[in-house]
Subunit: 335 residues, 2 copies
């Protein structure tokens, strides 16, 4: 394909140009599965067990950032939502809204990343949609993925399962994704800080032997750990106490957050997960996670308390402050 | 809610404003099902049979048009894709990309329409996502739906099933949706022509007694009947002969198409379906369809021929012309 080729409005018209785009760019990459016949809907085998269904739209700006792009992010985002729901991700849909004038090469790079990420996650892109809007009607490319997974037997998850004394664990450094995207947007840091964008499904599978001890799992994306933790304690009769010196932040994220005035507890990760589990299982979970490449920095960051409805951070010198839900538009278009 | 309220960037930030928007607008309408606990993914019961999975993004402009809006259109679009795949639609996801500044009242109207349409289609909105982008980064509101359906036993569909002598049937007037949206966009016709936006799942169910005689089903959306029919004959050893005087077009759509220079065979419907079935079953199918409110204008428009790879239109005076795949951007953002 000519490197100077760009997406035209006609590529979304449903006629010949659409068909060519689908044939050359979509089927070439995803046509080895149920997408082959280009049906309106993918016909998939029955699932022996409960189903998990999730969706996310991705509008990240810029669409290319150190450590990833909107394509692999869109795969990881939905794979992770399914995984932390206690399920094995199986199939994805892929819906593109493309701005007229987008270089075809950009689209190709994104689609290549979708395929690579899907393969790495063990999922198949089985159905999709392509729309084109005029210049100025979207910002380059928006991507939606929805996904279907199979519930893993044994997990009984939910914030109502959380008990006083349980431990809060995370699989690695927090906030690298949000800060890497902000750095790319503001032209800071020369791309030294990379997004953590990655799948967490293997980390979830590693928990299945401890399923009876796991109360809650989540990937702390928009709103960061602060939003996730506050959601758990909101209206509940438990609270959370975090130890500041145990919070895993990379030096790069810390430096940028200080420079830009962000609290890293409010900043999104896109390849990390947190879980709340019994005190008894915590050490084994950390050990198990650390044995995986994506969990080498796993650690305990706090515990569940009786302090109803509040998330408290205990600082290194013994002070305490409330960890609030982020307010306002801290980090627009981070995912 | 204050009628002057508008969507702010912070409504998509993942913090307090997001939570309020979700609580007040999403949960109020869709919180009576699996969405209640606002999990990252909906936990759904297993399906006893094969699964159909489909997605579509909707970028229709204007978002409100005679006969519908982007909300019910997004429900019908995915419900119909699942239905014509020979399945019963069960669950939908709903992902919103909202432009900062959208009046809250517009969003509320769209969400009300989503709920009403979902109820009418017998589907539940079980999971979703909300993103907000800056002014000028989308055009008001884009909506993605993905859906899961259960395959109806008996259908064995596909363009490869189509045989010479089979009949081409449609459930009603063609092209009303596309022309109604164009009229609204151009300020023509005072809204006299209404979109046909509607679900076709009942029309599909009506076909199940004839499942062995049904070869192919489709809802002719973008690209219209011309695109759908050409897709069937593309590379196949059959062709299609349409009779011009049997094509069902409304007077309103015909008038507008003539004024604007459109071929109605290229124009999208969003509440019609076509099927190809055996000559033996054709009359019974039409009778069955006509017994339903959404099929009163059902008719036969043509038949399958041996004229490999071509769709031919026979005019009233006996002339013939080729019905081409539409080329270029005839009707941008029609769905």
């Amino acid at each position: 394909m000519d490197e100077k080729k760009r997406i035209l409005l006609g590529h979304g018209g449903g006629g010949l140009l659409t068909r060519n785009l689908i044939d050359e760019e979509i089927l070439k990459r995803f046509g080895d599965g149920p997408l082959r016949g280009l049906p309106d809907g993918a016909l998939l085998p029955s699932i022996d067990g409960d189903i998990v269904f999730s969706t996310d739209s991705f509008v990240v700006s810029p669409g290319f950032f150190p450590g990833g792009n909107i394509g692999d992010l869109a795969v990881h985002g939905t794979v992770n939502d399914i995984a932390v729901s206690g399920a094995t991700p199986l199939w994805l849909s892929l819906a593109l809204i493309i701005e007229e004038g987008l270089p075809l090469a950009s689209l190709q790079t994104v689609l290549d990343s979708v395929r690579t990420a899907a393969d790495n996650c063990g999922v198949q892109v089985v159905t999709g949609d392509t729309k084109v809007v005029r210049k100025g009607q979207c910002d380059g490319l928006y991507v939606n993925t929805a996904g279907i997974g199979k519930k893993i037997a044994g997990f009984n998850l939910g914030s109502s399962q959380v008990q006083t004394g349980d431990r809060v664990l995370v699989s690695g450094n927090l906030g690298d994704h949000g800060m890497a995207v902000m750095a790319a947007r503001e032209g800071l840091g020369n791309g030294a800080l990379k997004s953590d964008s990655a799948p967490v499904h293997r980390l979830v599978h590693a928990l299945s032997p401890f399923a009876a001890d796991v109360r809650f799992m989540r990937d702390p994306t928009r709103g960061g750990m602060a939003a996730t933790l506050n959601e758990i304690v909101d209206g509940a009769d438990v609270g959370i106490l975090l130890r500041e010196d145990s919070l895993p932040f990379s030096a790069g994220a810390k430096g940028l957050a200080e420079m830009l005035g962000f609290d890293l507890l409010h900043v999104a990760s896109e390849g990390r997960m947190m879980c709340i589990c019994s005190a008894e299982a915590a050490e084994q979970v950390i050990e198990k996670w650390r044995s995986l490449p994506e969990g080498t920095d796993a650690c305990e960051i706090g515990r569940i308390t009786e302090d109803s409805g509040r998330v408290i951070l205990e600082t290194g010198i013994g002070g305490k402050r409330i960890v609030d839900v982020p307010q306002g538009e801290l980090l627009p278009r981070i995912c």
